[in-house]
Symmetry: C2
Subunit: 337 residues, 2 copies
């Protein structure tokens, strides 16, 4: 048996802000008969996560591509792998059977051919889906918050940011977020329980804005954005302040934008600036899971999702991340179960 | 009785690289008769420590001046306080007697009039002089080294840097330092036991230089310098690398120089960049003292000092820090006991 697979690739390496013309929808025939000893698996993709860091993998040169396996360069014309949920349609691996629901690295396409047993895939467990671990691990493990501390979150209505703010509030911190529209600001304040929020696009002077929102200084800055926001946060930081660098989306699209935080502040205020990856936070996974499921069950924590439909929507869904089009976790729904 | 006190002040705030004409030698008469209940003390200065951070106190505006008391602005025309060793010549404080040797905040002058009991002064204890605590605390507490790790130290022949390198070697790390002359490089390699060293002034491309000296990457960077050196170190850092930001001397003299380390590296390699002050390291003081005295006694640790003579030499001693004139701990010897 054979299916037609429609999938997205990049036409060339992408070095600036991504645009529709960087992407291409391709079609190929995919045979579903696998050699039973091949270890290959074919899955039908259901939901695919849309993540800003993929842009760094699309660049012609990025030091991060060398740093860690999953950040390896994406090659024009080839599959774009991404985290998602899928259903097994053919399996050459005895551990997986047809119709199994799985999570792991699949592709920006309708089907994924995962070859040779080196794929990262496991059986789907509705409780084991690690969305939110970045926010949880980054906030608790890297920022090491104390109750009452003042927390600033950027890209606060985004997938990671909204959860950081919610976890921080539930933990007992004072939380201010910034986001790129008045609707997002309203969501943060009215629905997600942030103490305050502002639209950074309306602030000509970010340092002054943060001074207004944090007259007593910032203890923790959860950085999703980098560049000027990071610089402005460091200026407003209290002694022994902590910056968790989760990502620097404003720098992804423009290599000339580089945060240059005042190192005199870093020394005199003994600030810690620390990068982290969700992948390193597995030790808090059990905590994360129990806290998160409890809060979701009692309605104290809100899941904010932003879902596009169909394989054609991958490019616009992805591009939209860099234009602030999404609110909450961006995903593409490729097919119904 | 009265003495003539010669002392150094700044003429105006100093915003760029300091030069001789920024300083002035003044003379004043100082009465040695103190009201016995005044708590004032007059000391004769013997040795005064010369420190780069003082430049930040001489600036018209520096965020660090607000961050912490001892970094408060220095006012033109007034005494410049600095750490040193002195001898009490008159005391209105029953805790101190004439001829007591003391350490603490004295001044860039022949005598210091320390007023109203608010001075930071204590009896001199040859074992209690905390030179080296910056290096020890910064290296062990902030960098948290493991044996065999690769350590890079900048301004490595300086007061803090040379000790960091020596402590790191004695602890069992691989250590490379950089310094500004071939004589300094020779000192590091031949006398102080560094595994390697290089003259950064002869390296047109610091990133490439560090890649040559650290083909397997840097685990710990002890930063005394900032700007390009910090950027180059971050590029060459290993995963979970640590940067202790002790100081950024190259940024002190030029506010337009700002380190903009690649935050993508910081995230993907989970780098920690942390500022610290020696003043926070008092918890390791006992360790520091016993390790240091042991190593000094057995000749494994070398004290490197660079001493200028006389009150007139304060300006050139200080200016020399920013020109690399000193090797090891810079001090001015104002008088013999
Ligand atoms: N360390 C890790 O393990 C890890 C894991 C996941 C994600 N991340 C990082 O975390 C950050 C957020 O990721 P996410 O998946 O949660 O994405 P997201 O926040 O859901 O989407 C990106 C959001 O960033 C904001 N943004 C885009 N360009 C911006 C700019 N130039 N300046 C300021 N804000 C901008 C937009 O919202 P506005 O409307 O507010 O502008 C946009 O909605 C990214 O930097 C990502 O790389 C790190
Ligand atoms: N955090 C703390 O508690 C603390 C305490 C003490 C000192 N510090 C900091 O530690 C650093 C070293 O202080 P120190 O007292 O030990 O001084 P030092 O290293 O003995 O003297 C300064 C040395 O820095 C080097 N240098 C000067 N300008 C430079 C530039 N533009 N680029 C590169 N190197 C330059 C020079 O050596 P070369 O010949 O190698 O250029 C000079 O000899 C300073 O940044 C200082 O502020 C921090």
């Amino acid at each position: 048996m054979e299916v037609t697979n429609r999938y997205i690739t990049i036409k060339t390496q992408v070095d600036g802000e991504p645009k529709e013309s960087d992407f291409e929808l391709k079609t190929s025939a995919l045979s579903l008969s696998l050699d039973p000893s091949s270890n290959d698996i074919i899955v039908k993709n259901l939901y695919v996560s849309i993540d800003p860091y993929q842009l760094n993998r699309m660049k012609s040169q990025s030091s991060s591509q060398k740093a860690i396996g999953f950040a390896a360069a994406i090659t024009p014309g080839e599959d774009i792998d991404a985290y998602g949920v899928a259903k097994v349609v053919a399996s050459g691996n005895p551990e997986f059977e047809k119709d199994d629901l799985v999570v792991g690295l699949i592709t920006w396409g309708e089907y994924s051919l995962l070859k040779g047993g080196k794929y990262m895939l496991r059986k789907f467990d509705p409780m084991g889906f690690p969305l939110g671990l970045t926010a949880y691990g980054g906030f608790f493990e890297v920022c090491k918050p104390k109750k009452g501390e003042k927390v600033f979150v950027s890209a606060a209505s985004g997938s990671v940011g909204n959860l950081v703010g919610q976890y921080a509030k539930l933990f007992g911190c004072y939380v201010v977020g910034c986001a790129g529209s008045k609707e997002k600001v309203a969501l943060l304040k009215e629905k997600l329980g942030f103490d305050d929020a502002f639209n950074y696009k309306e602030e000509p002077d970010l340092k002054a804005a943060l001074q207004r929102y944090f007259p007593d200084g910032i203890d923790i800055y959860f950085d999703n954005v980098g560049f000027e926001m990071l610089e402005a946060a460091v200026v407003n930081m209290n002694t022994f302040g902590r910056v968790a660098v989760c990502g620097v989306i404003s720098e992804y699209i423009d290599a000339t934008k580089r945060a240059a935080p005042n190192m005199l502040d870093v020394v005199y205020k003994r600030i810690k600036i620390q990068g982290f990856l969700a992948a390193d936070q597995m030790n808090v996974f059990p905590d994360f899971l129990s806290t998160t499921t409890d809060h979701l069950r009692t309605g104290k924590l809100h899941a904010v999702e932003d879902i596009s439909d169909g394989v054609e929507s991958f490019p616009s869904a992805f591009i939209g991340l860099f234009r602030g089009h999404n609110t909450g976790k961006k995903m593409v729904k490729v097919a119904d179960e």
